[in-house]
């Protein structure tokens, strides 16, 4: 029986021709990633192992992005520990404030992930790089420590779920709507322990930024990874960002999938996930009256240049509703600069939004936009769990940049399609 794309990548990194679902393997790692929350624990564990050096200083990336710029003394201490470790162990890919971006937007942008790579990161959204045809998955700090020391990781080979994408999405529908639609369909544990593998001619209509968003939220369906086939768009992206030469893997035609879904992208509606789970989704047509206090546009899910362009298209020349706080977070310095050059930042500020330096801050309720008791936000982030953005009695609604921006103008969750008709 044939293998999935993910199984091929795992087999190649385990030095074998074939693997089967459920098999436990040891595999070579191409990149090991950590941030200012997970790396301090990993560093502590790494030191216990007693190795003088990391397995390959060019294959470790440390990105202080969560509680940075340092939000308090304890966070500053954690960042200091990461910084000192990077210096002492000569880690090549350490990104200080000023060049730092949100890790999962930053690594592809810096060309640190290529097609066919095997990447682990002590952050659950490490699955983002599946957009590039890499196997990447989130792990914990101890796995990160072990990876830094040995260059190897243990994996249970996942089975796969096949998503056949057909058709072309409508103008205001983007990767976020597609992945929320899928999570709503299969549930937050619908892909537990499995790979979400995308197939079909609909993929050609998805930009790289759309694909990053879709791969990013695989974890919200419980998946081990989400992965796209490598096409001309992928190769062009990798070339533009100076990545190492791609290793192109593909699923066998007779690959065995435990489940198969077909999704006609032309039928996907702008989609919103209501509190408190990402699978609690509704079409924009069924949202009803949901007034909001805050709008967050950014994160590793939706802080890329296309996301900002979409938001700016909605906000340009208009005014944010009175009483709504809008915070825009470009995901990296490069994206920020590009947005500046294109006049997007001007559109945001003139509309009444605050624009921030890159940080994960509000997405996980860290800092820079925490919600008070009873407050409600619509956010382009990835989780809407209880207390995720602040007070345990606050609410987060997940949506696309277009829906978030339209909601900023309306003061309630709104449909960007209606805006266009005005």
């Amino acid at each position: 029986m044939g293998m999935t794309m993910t199984q091929h990548i795992l087999a190649a990194h385990a030095g074998t021709d074939s693997v089967r679902p459920g098999q436990l393997i040891l595999a070579d790692l191409d990149m090991v990633l950590g941030n200012d929350i997970t790396a301090p624990v990993a560093i502590r564990e790494f030191e216990k192992i007693g190795r003088d050096r990391v397995f390959d200083p060019g294959k470790v990336a440390l990105v202080p992005d969560h509680f940075t710029p340092n939000k308090d003394i304890q966070s500053a201490q954690q960042c200091k520990a990461v910084r000192e470790f990077a210096r002492k162990r000569e880690v090549e890919h350490y990104f200080e404030i000023g060049e730092m971006g949100i890790e999962h937007a930053l690594l592809p942008e810096k060309g640190l992930v290529s097609a066919g790579d095997l990447v682990i990161g002590a952050d659950s959204h490490t699955c983002t790089y599946g957009a590039l045809g890499a196997f990447s998955t989130g792990v914990g700090s101890t796995d990160m420590a072990a990876g830094m020391a040995t260059g190897k990781g243990w994996f249970k080979v996942p089975g796969g779920i096949r998503f056949e994408l057909t058709g072309k999405p409508n103008p205001w529908v983007c990767g976020k709507d597609i992945i929320l639609h899928i999570i709503g369909m299969i549930g937050v544990d619908g892909a537990l322990y499995s790979s979400m593998e995308y197939w079909g001619d609909g993929i050609a209509h998805l930009s790289m930024d759309d694909r990053f968003t879709i791969a990013n939220m695989a974890i919200e369906a419980g998946a081990k990874n989400g992965i796209f086939p490598v096409d001309d768009q992928t190769l062009a992206y990798l070339k533009e960002h100076g990545s190492k030469p791609p290793r192109v893997f593909s699923a066998d035609d007779d690959a065995e999938y435990q489940q198969s879904y077909t999704i006609d992208l032309s039928r996907v509606r702008p989609t919103v996930a209501f509190p408190h789970l990402p699978d609690n989704t509704r079409s924009i047509d069924d949202v009803g009256e949901i007034p909001v206090d805050q709008v967050v546009i950014g994160s590793c899910t939706n802080g890329r240049i296309e996301d900002l362009r979409t938001a700016a298209r909605v906000l340009k020349g208009r005014k944010i509703a009175r009483g709504v706080r809008v915070i825009v977070f470009p995901a990296t310095q490069k994206i920020y600069m590009q947005a500046l050059k294109e006049g997007l930042i001007e559109s945001f500020i003139e509309a009444g939004a605050a624009v921030s330096t890159p940080t994960c801050g509000p997405c996980l309720g860290g800092h820079m936009g925490i919600l008070a008791q009873g407050e409600r936000a619509v956010a382009t982030t990835n989780r809407n769990f209880v207390g995720r953005m602040g007070h345990p009695e606050s609410e987060v609604y997940l949506a696309s940049p277009a829906v978030a921006a339209a909601s900023a103008l309306a003061g309630k969750i709104a449909n960007p399609e209606e805006l266009e008709q005005e």
Binding site: L24, Q74, G366
Partner: protein, 164 residues
């Protein structure tokens, strides 16, 4: 190795944000983390939990963030074992890597209520509900994972020459 304790019974999709909210992630000190364990789901957990107690939950326990602070907080609060219908995959591997015993056993989850006293034998996978006089057997871990658990986690396993 055996554990015995009272049960804290939770439902589906207990996420790592409620196990340890991000506002406390500016530290990784296990005792400090334990002081806020389960805070946004069960604010009285910290006052009520005793060494040896057992968490029993339905599907997808530990979903969401990869923060190892979540199993660390649970382990450090004195909980001896987590039994669930299913675990989210990162929580699952984190627990094994740090030596927090976990068992997947849907039948046991079905037959255990809040406050029951249970006894778990990690060597055999046997779970006994002492309050209701019932028992089950969880699937044993694959040999490789048993090696990790016996070594008291991944770091000790590597120190003993594993993973190379």
């Amino acid at each position: 190795m055996k554990a015995k304790g009272r049960v804290f019974r939770y439902k589906d999709n207990v996420d790592t944000d409620v196990i340890i909210p991000a506002r406390y992630l500016n530290t990784s000190d296990p005792d400090e983390l334990a002081g806020h364990c389960m805070e946004d789901l069960d604010p009285s957990f910290v006052q009520r939990v005793k060494p040896g107690d057992v968490i029993v939950a339905d599907r997808n326990f530990g979903c969401g963030s990869s923060r190892e602070h979540a199993p660390l907080a649970i382990k450090s609060s004195g909980v001896s074992c987590v039994i669930a219908r299913t675990f989210a995959r990162i929580f699952y591997r984190n627990s094994i890597n740090i030596g927090l015993p976990i068992l997947e056993c849907p039948e046991a989850v079905e037959g255990i209520s809040e406050g029951d006293e249970v006894e778990v034998d990690f060597d055999t996978g046997e779970i006994r509900n002492l309050t209701q006089g019932t028992g089950w057997k969880a699937e044993p871990f694959p040999e490789f994972m048993q090696g990790l658990i016996k070594a008291d986690g991944l770091i000790e396993y590597i120190k003993q020459g594993g993973l190379s």
